[in-house]
């Protein structure tokens, strides 16, 4: 089985390196095809491993030693267990679809080859992240995906906004990664190993304060990667990248790495329920907070990005409350319907010549039926309507919140579910139905190429059926993860499901009703709440005013006062001294042998003085 493991892991790397050979050449179709094939091979291997893990249990290989220094022993070890195999399957499946989709989407881009090289490099880093059997490997993958994310957000680097967004994402993640690193150092300091197994085996002997500190630091890392408040601003700006990137990295895989980390460290977090509850509270807050921002935004991709943020909040609620398998389940279903949503949005963008304002669309159903249907399916799934995928996973999270007695969290998520349904259908209504605004702006939309639509079909199918495997999924993953018992009685459960369904359906119905009649009136847009929401609660402004500006001023001060006047001055004066010494001592070089001999004797006298007074052996 090891060969499947290595295939799954290294096929993306081979793809990336091979395509990188042609990175600076003009578009070559075969690079995209070969990359897609290699990623598909990785996907097939992942499925084989899934079946194997299901029958034979986890697979653990030790490829080679990496760092062996003193007490520090870190191997290149990979583990394929119930959690990582689910992640592998999800990642490679979405990646394959995105790769094939990108062949169509990036068709006219002159950096076609470079794009596939980055994309495959991302998949490789993600596989390292999920497959590693120790924290250091996880961290390598963690940084690798961060790097690829930076490369891909800033893919159109000639656009200022794109390079700015890339840097923002990278720097935000860097702040969080510091927390993660501190967590890793603390683990090594207290445990003496970074292997998952050894760490979790010795955790219970540790002081609970230490465990809590480790948990908090690791979660800070997860907050950055998964864009949780207050490090969330980068995700919306990251939409500057090409849409397949948004679908793959900023919806399905990379942003869920934080959730994966919490799930992976489940044994750690289950020892510190207070920290877990804080995580859950933050998750619930983000779920509501992000959903509210999605309500009013007019940018097609940003709406979906806020929706992603909100759904990540749901996952953290589940993970924080100890329902790890449910978090993983929602992670998987979300990956399917959210990437489908993004890829559909990509089709719309393509049809509208990169126009993103949904107010300028409307009535696109006529010209792009397939995309409209797929996106509607994804939206229904996202809204959590029975029997689509989102229903099963999201409903479970609400049940967990209720079961833990955290009624406040439950209520936040409940409201969030309604908002989710509303903004999803606001998007669908404004883009695909209603008045044909695009005619006024002179667009001629057309449906994407057929193979692109076919590539989306598996995702569409999974967005519908993924939830039906809930029990198999539970049985499979709880072999490794902690089991989660729900104690609420069947009756209340039915009531809860009904309520959630009601609010979701209500949200959808309200959106359809309102936007069929032309949406809200202009007066709404003047209101305080609208402005607050559309300005993202002024958080970017606050960051700019209170963090970026002072920091820029500090940097300028350091540059002009300290760097120029102290450091540079010192260096310059050294150079000036040397120059002046040279100018002065040039006179020594008179060309007269007598003078030279005299200088020689001076040198000899100096050496004699040294010999007289310097006694190394004495």
């Amino acid at each position: 089985m090891e060969k499947y493991l290595y295939t799954a892991l290294f096929a993306p790397l081979v793809s990336s390196l091979f395509v990188a050979l042609f990175a600076s050449r003009p578009k070559m179709l075969f690079t995209g095809v070969i990359a897609s094939i290699l990623i598909a091979i990785s996907m097939v291997s992942s499925f084989v491993l899934l079946i194997d893990v299901n029958t034979h249990g986890a697979l653990h290989v030790n490829m080679m030693d990496w760092i062996v220094a003193g007490n520090l022993y870190i191997p290149f070890g990979f583990v394929v267990d119930e959690v990582s195999v689910i992640m592998m399957v999800t990642v490679t499946l979405v990646s394959t679809v995105v790769h094939i989709y990108s062949i169509g989407y990036m068709d006219h881009d002159k950096s076609f080859n470079r794009f596939f090289s980055y994309l495959s490099a991302f998949v490789f880093s993600m596989m390292i992240l999920v497959m590693s059997d120790n924290f250091v490997g996880l961290f390598i993958g963690w940084e690798g995906v961060g790097l690829c994310s930076w490369l891909l957000i800033g893919f159109w680097y000639h656009k200022h906004s794109a390079s700015w967004a890339a840097n923002e994402a990278f720097i935000m993640n860097r702040i969080a990664d510091l927390g993660m690193l501190m967590g890793l150092f603390l683990i090594y300091w207290n445990v003496g190993s970074l292997q998952y197994e050894e760490v979790f085996a010795t955790l219970k002997d540790l002081d609970s304060v230490v465990v809590a500190t480790i948990g908090i630091f690791l979660f800070i890392g997860a907050m950055g990667k998964s864009a949780q408040f207050p490090l969330h601003t980068w995700l919306a700006d990251a939409m500057e990248g090409p849409t397949p990137v948004s679908a793959l990295i900023h919806a399905a895989t990379m942003v869920t790495a934080g959730v994966y980390l919490v799930i992976r460290c489940g044994e750690l977090y289950s020892m510190i329920p207070d920290v877990g509850f804080a995580i859950a509270s933050l998750g619930a807050f983000v779920a509501l907070f992000a959903a509210s921002m999605a309500l009013v935004n007019n940018d097609l991709k940003r709406i979906i990005a806020y929706s992603t943020l909100s759904q990540l909040g749901y996952m953290f609620v589940a993970a924080g409350l100890g329902a790890y398998w449910i978090a993983l389940f929602h992670l998987m279903t979300h990956a399917f319907f959210k990437s489908l949503l993004f890829l559909g949005a990509g089709n719309v963008m393509h049809a509208m010549h990169d126009e993103l304002n949904i107010k300028k669309m409307g009535g696109l159903y006529g010209s792009m039926k397939a995309t409209a249907i797929l996106m509607s399916v994804a939206s229904v799934a996202l809204a959590g309507i029975y029997p689509l995928a989102g229903f099963f996973s999201k409903d479970k999270i609400l049940e967990v919140a209720f079961n833990e007695g955290a009624y406040f969290l439950w209520f936040a998520l409940f409201i969030g579910a309604g908002l989710t349904a509303f903004y999803s259908f606001r998007l669908v209504m404004l883009v695909f139905f209603g008045e044909k605004e695009y005619i006024k702006h002179g667009f001629h939309p057309h449906e994407a190429q057929p193979f692109v639509i076919y590539a989306l079909l598996p995702l569409g199918l999974l967005a519908v059926i993924a939830g039906w495997f809930e029990h198999q999924f539970e049985g499979f993953t709880t072999r490794l993860l902690a089991r989660y018992e729900i104690h609420i009685s069947h009756g209340i459960e039915i009531v809860l499901i009904g309520a959630t369904l009601c609010i979701a359906v209500g949200g959808i119905a309200f959106a359809i009703y309102k936007y069929q009649r032309g949406g809200f009136s202009k007066t709404w847009e003047e209101g305080f709440f609208y402005k607050l929401l559309s300005n993202q609660y002024y958080i970017p402004k606050v960051y700019e005013l209170y963090i970026m500006r002072p920091f820029t001023m500090l940097s300028q001060f350091v540059w002009q006062k300290i760097d120029m006047k102290v450091v540079d001055f010192t260096v310059d004066s050294i150079a000036r001294t040397i120059y002046k010494t040279g100018e002065k001592s040039r006179k020594m070089q008179s060309g007269n042998l007598s003078d030279m001999l005299r200088w020689m004797v001076v040198g000899m006298v100096v050496l004699l003085v040294l010999a007289l007074f310097y006694r190394p052996m004495a």
Binding site: R586, Q589, S590, G591, N592, L593, S594, L597, R598, V601
Partner: protein, 100 residues
């Protein structure tokens, strides 16, 4: 009784005389004489050390120094004659082509 120190002081004195010559002389031929004095001063030192430590290495060194001095004189005089033929003078002040 004559000790090693006596010889070494003599060596130092002769060496200093040589140095005076090296710095004072501007005639190249006389400069060569002064360098011979330097070499001989060192030779006395080597042989004296050799004697007082009962080690022949010093004498060997002195022997090779004499060989080097002989070669130096042969080449140096050849160059000196060539220079004199071209310039009509062996004064140091007449050769300042290396002025920087």
């Amino acid at each position: 009784m004559i000790t090693l120190t006596h010889y070494l002081i003599l060596t130092g004195l002769l060496f200093a005389i040589g140095l005076v010559g090296v710095m004072r002389r501007t005639n190249l031929l006389m400069l060569f004489f002064s360098t011979e004095i330097l070499l001989n001063a060192v030779n006395i030192g080597f042989v004296a050390v050799s004697k007082y430590y009962g080690d022949f290495t010093g004498q060997m060194f002195a022997f090779f120094i004499i060989a080097v001095a002989a070669s130096e004189v042969a080449v140096g005089l050849g160059l000196l004659i060539l220079w004199y033929k071209r310039n009509g003078s062996v004064d140091l002040n007449s050769l300042q082509m290396m002025k920087g």
